[in-house]
């Protein structure tokens, strides 16, 4: 483990997420619990965000179910390295289903941010992009600087999926910018915004 390495990474998670979500159009966004949920909220709390406050390990699987249900909409899952590690098998499930509309981004600061910034396995030898590639996800890469990020941004937004991007971001303490906490409200506002009057009818 190298506990100091990610203190020197040049990309900042809030700026990365702001750019990912800038002019997002009708993209559907799922965020894993903790910092990733605060990051998407900092970029603007909108009904087509589904920020998780729990369900650790479930972000990618949830994004997959959504992508399969809504094949004409781009689905972007943004999560952290600890959350991704807990649900790592879901990358295999995604790879088998091959949803073209699903993009996954890990904000990898090599830390468990909500519990005291302890190291995750990615602070050691564990390479999430290689794990995604090993599952057969053909578009995957690790992004380490602004040049990489600018080159990759159009892929994250548009490339035929499933695609997986591990973005190395600086380990930093940031102000908490919290989304609504009521899960039923988050679900209902998401379904109303996505499905409109069908949301009730589909019941």
């Amino acid at each position: 483990m190298d506990k100091d390495r990610s203190k020197r990474y040049v990309l900042h998670r809030r700026e990365v997420v702001k750019q990912l979500l800038d002019n997002r159009g009708d993209m559907l966004v799922v965020a894993g619990l903790g910092a990733a949920a605060w990051d998407i909220t900092a970029a603007g709390d909108v009904p087509l965000n589904f920020p998780l406050w729990g369900a650790m390990g479930g972000a990618v699987a949830l994004g997959l179910g959504l992508a399969l249900a809504q094949p004409s909409r781009r689905v972007l899952v943004i999560t952290g390295d600890g959350e991704m590690l807990m649900g790592i098998g879901s990358l295999a499930t995604v790879a088998i289903q091959k949803p073209e509309n699903l993009a996954m981004v890990v904000l990898d600061n090599e830390r468990y941010g909500e519990t005291g910034m302890q190291c995750t396995h990615t602070a050691g030898c564990v390479d999430l992009a290689a794990m995604a590639a090993g599952n057969g996800i053909s578009v995957c890469s690790t992004i380490r600087d602004e040049k990489d990020f600018n080159t990759t941004l159009p892929q994250i937004r548009n490339s035929a999926g499933p695609c997986f991007f591990n973005i190395k971001v600086r380990a930093e303490d940031l102000p908490l910018i919290l989304p609504p906490k009521d899960g039923a409200y988050l679900k209902d506002r998401f379904r109303d915004a996505l499905l409109g009057s069908d949301a009730a009818a589909i019941r």
Partner: protein, 175 residues
Amino acid sequence: MTKTNDEIWPDEIFQVLNAHRVQQVAYVPDSGHTRLIQLCHASSEIKAIALTTEEEGVALLAGAWLGGQRGALLMQSSGAGNCLNMLSLTRICRLLLLMLITMRGQWGEFNPWQVPMGQNTEPMLKLAGVLTFAVDDGRRVKATVAAAARMTFEGPAASAVLISQQIMGAKTFGK
């Protein structure tokens, strides 16, 4: 040869899922669900999704419902414990979830390692806020799944049908 009522229950579950417009069926395989999984894979109405672990299915079907599709989750009872924390998602977001669980460790089980989870499946699901519907007669499976599906989709509720080893026969590995 005509199949008996005891043998057609997987086909009957499939009919119930179609009648309730279920479009995503996620599963970790179990021998008791073999026929139903085959039917789902062959269906043009249903997407069958193999999981690496059962809790993936809880999250996956949460996403399906956010996107407007109904789902069902198939597993054996040993997988129910894997779902426990993820069932918080279903409960706190008031999502609907239909689980069809084939039991192990319950009736004539030859493998003692299956017994702890098999015995704890129903109380654990109840503690997690899941409605449970146990069935031990093949002729009652269709009506039981229909009742659970109705309460799930008219809910929203999380429901689990527990299909007894009395229906499937206890696995023996030829012993």
